[in-house]
Symmetry: C2
Subunit: 502 residues, 2 copies
């Protein structure tokens, strides 16, 4: 075997995020290179190369001359059992100096962000480095210039779709309101109006479901760019997971670390949202910022700051942007969780009698705004046009056609384990804590378990009687159900006020 | 097998820092609990419990009903092959809200720091969380109050040694000057003077060697508190690795993450240094802050800020502190790396003709200051007393006695691979970049490889002739030697100015 060569043997260990290489402590490469556990090393196979973190094996798990890779690293290298890899010290990353400079509170220029984002997108940063970078950029520590440069860097590191100069509509909700699943409905209406809306969505970051998670219960969402283009050319719109395409690829890496940190800062949020829109070729975007005490944005002041930042970064990048601030005092619709939210979306599109009115109204407001913003409707007439397209069934037909074009429409499942949570008091619903509710939905399995989550039976101001159900937990495993109930015992999210005497 | 039980099987994988548990994707616990890769789980064995990160196994590496642990987790639980463990969701950490609050730029109170540091010390934080916390506390984002609270929290989470009311001397150098290994010499002089100096030192964080790494080449340093007490009772001083004793245990966890981030902020530095001193029972401490363009502290302004912070936090914790700012324009002594620095220390103690004068002078200044500060010498007479104790051989005898009391004195090794680096020009040494030099010493293997590092043959202002050696690289492996030379090719650290015509 050559100097730095090792033979690959599959162990099938999934580390999810960070690539890991397994090497014997006494292997000739470890010894000659002086590698220790947690060293960052360059792993080369043919003309592929990745950076991985070393875990040292002190046993006969690997034979002399053998090494293994985590399943993600294995895939990234396109490895096969027995392949010969070479392992070297990872190159020194000059961008880490820039990262540290940011941690120490200095301003970074465009070159520094390009270097950092380039290394992040190529997987050269460990999770530790990414966590430190995210933390250093949070809490108002990014200037406007820096946010613009970060956004540009995130666009430039990936592909950019060109739709040939036509108006391209997009929308986004900054989140924080569980169940606020307007995107599939808005796309259906806007595409039904004849506009182009090639929507790419993300999976959940810190919420119980992202639009991509919800749409995955209804159709295929992991399309590549040519497949997406075919769908949009035919139907005008699509619902695609952005993570499957090389648009702002650093964003997906950053999000994988943001999730366990439960972190989502203004600058990262703006760079994440706008880089995806710009890379996807959008020309006109409407952004929904729900404001409420337990939404992601809690005060009008915060909303104002975020709106300003969004508008200025969009303008600097040539994207036309309109921001709508909406009320975010309680969850939207009934279901929370991928499949449960999909059922709500279908009810609105079908005009079902039981369709959640709030989800319908929010969708019509956003679709109406987009129709006006893109020049399809004259000012003041957008919402009535959107309502016509929805109530006539034209949007529902468009939705089904898009799903068919994406590979066929599916019926979302229902969780095998369902347990209603009953109130022991009577009264009026005075508060629903969206953060705790989201936590419960995640504990019960969403978004990993597609049918898990919860279904709300009450809204703010509702009168409830002792013994009536407030919500129903949906779970795929008994362990998750128990875990959510354990949390609920000390962290209720529905507050009841005094019952008015009758 | 009971509901959440799994049988342990050793795989011998060393992940170093973070505890990892390996479980089959299709095991009954993963399924019932809905665990996915990277989930944080609680692992219980008897009455021991740890938090670990889940790596999922998709192969026959583990049989149904089996699980494995990284070697660190295995040790922490005191596990044996075949032991039955139970695995549950990790409890929700309330302190993570406080951590996020800090990331978002808010001030934390004492309770919040106690909660965070308690969770850090117990291993309940993942490396990601620690990296984010460290980053959030860097760059001047900690107020004085916060730094005091963080320091107290770090003291309170561990043990505290009580020396019974006597004066207890301590010293510390904030680092950044490679080779500045004064501690072993100062301890020998101060203990020879009859004072109590129970010195605990750390291993290297971002430098090529810490005092504990250097002393490990000379004697045992992993003593526990009773063993240290026996040494100090007998000899007055000791050289012990602080990480082997439960003094400020969170500090050791934080340092493991600081190292790969190459991060060392003011507040963390002060809390780290002072919490160790306070927990070790020091009453009087002298702190050396070298200031220079490539030292850790680069300007008088930074030194002033750090000095203020050190003094105020010490005062708030009842520790008497004196700060000395020293020149930090170039490395101290000749050797850089654990064994190489030990050889320099021995030369000074023995009064060898070739002993580095700068290391000797710095040690005498610090020892003299401590002798005065602790009331042993009258003001102005400390340095001459220190010189007397050193030159008479009394300090050298004390040094040997302490090493004997710690388990015997060793002779530091010499690296098997040594390669001089020759200058191709003549001139005067106008600059030595300490940061690059430290990087080279680390690339060549220090501090992991005890004999690795480099030996400097020149000092600032020296005249060198073409073909003469500037320094010699010491390596334990050819891979590391090659890696250091590769870096040196583009990052020289010795700059030569114009040769003056003769």
């Amino acid at each position: 075997m050559k100097d730095h060569e090792l033979r690959l043997r599959a162990l099938g260990i999934d580390t999810r995020r960070e690539h890991v290489i397994y090497m014997r402590r006494d292997c000739h490469v470890c010894r000659s290179e002086g590698f220790e556990a947690q060293a960052r090393v360059a792993v080369n196979l043919g003309d592929q190369s990745i950076i991985a973190t070393l875990n040292v094996v002190n046993s006969e798990l690997l034979a002399i001359g053998e090494a293994s890779l985590s399943t993600g690293a294995w895939r990234a290298l396109g490895a096969a059992q027995g392949d010969r890899i070479t392992v070297l010290h990872a190159p020194t990353l000059d961008s880490l100096s820039a990262m540290r400079s940011k941690i120490y509170g200095h301003r970074l220029d465009a070159r520094a962000f390009n270097a950092i984002i380039g290394d992040v997108a190529s997987g050269r940063y460990s999770d530790l480095h990414i966590a430190a970078f995210l933390s250093a950029c949070a809490g108002g520590r990014m200037s406007l210039e820096e946010t613009i440069d970060l956004t540009r860097a995130m666009v430039d590191v990936g592909d950019r779709i060109d739709w040939g100069g036509v108006t391209v509509a997009d929308k986004h909700c900054v989140g924080g309101l569980p169940g606020n699943r307007t995107t599939p409905i808005v796309v259906a209406i806007v595409a039904a109006a004849g506009l182009i809306m090639p929507k790419t969505s993300s999976r959940a970051i810190t919420s119980p479901a992202g639009t991509a998670d919800v749409m995955e219960t209804l159709t295929r969402v992991d399309l590549d760019v040519p497949a997406m283009r075919r769908v949009v050319d035919r139907e005008g719109g699509c619902f695609v997971w952005g993570g499957a395409m090389p648009l702002s690829p650093a964003d997906d890496v950053l999000i994988r670390v943001e999730r366990p940190l439960d972190l989502d800062s203004d600058a990262q949020l703006v760079a994440s949202v706008l880089s995806k829109k710009i890379a996807a070729g959008a020309t006109h975007a409407v952004i929904d910022i729900p404001v409420g005490p337990t939404a992601k944005v809690r005060s009008e002041e915060d909303a104002h700051r975020l709106q300003n930042l969004l508008e200025q970064v969009a303008q600097a990048n040539g994207l036309k942007l309109r921001v709508l601030r909406t009320r975010g005092s309680q969850p939207v619709g009934r279901g929370i969780g991928p499949a449960l939210e999909a059922h709500d979306v279908l009810a609105v599109l079908r005009g079902a009698a039981a369709a959640p009115v709030d989800l319908r109204m929010r969708s019509l407001v956003l679709a109406g705004e987009l129709l006006e913003f893109c020049g399809h409707s004259i000012p003041g007439k957008g919402r009535s046009e959107a309502t016509r397209l929805l109530d006539s069934g034209i949007a529902w037909e468009k939705f089904q056609s898009i799903c068919e074009a994406q590979g066929g429409m599916r019926v979302p499942g229902i969780a095998p384990i369902r347990e209603p949570v009953i109130t022991e008091h009577s009264g009026f619903v005075s508060d629903i804590d969206s953060r705790r509710l989201a936590r419960v939905a995640k504990l019960v399995g969403a978004p990993g378990a597609l049918t898990a989550g919860l279904q709300l039976h009450v809204k703010l101001g509702d009168s409830v009687q002792r013994g009536s159900p407030l919500f129903t937990l949906h779970a795929e495993t008994t362990g998750e159900l128990a875990y959510a109930k354990h949390y609920l015992a000390t962290h209720p999210f529905v507050t009841l006020g005094e019952a008015v005497a009758t």
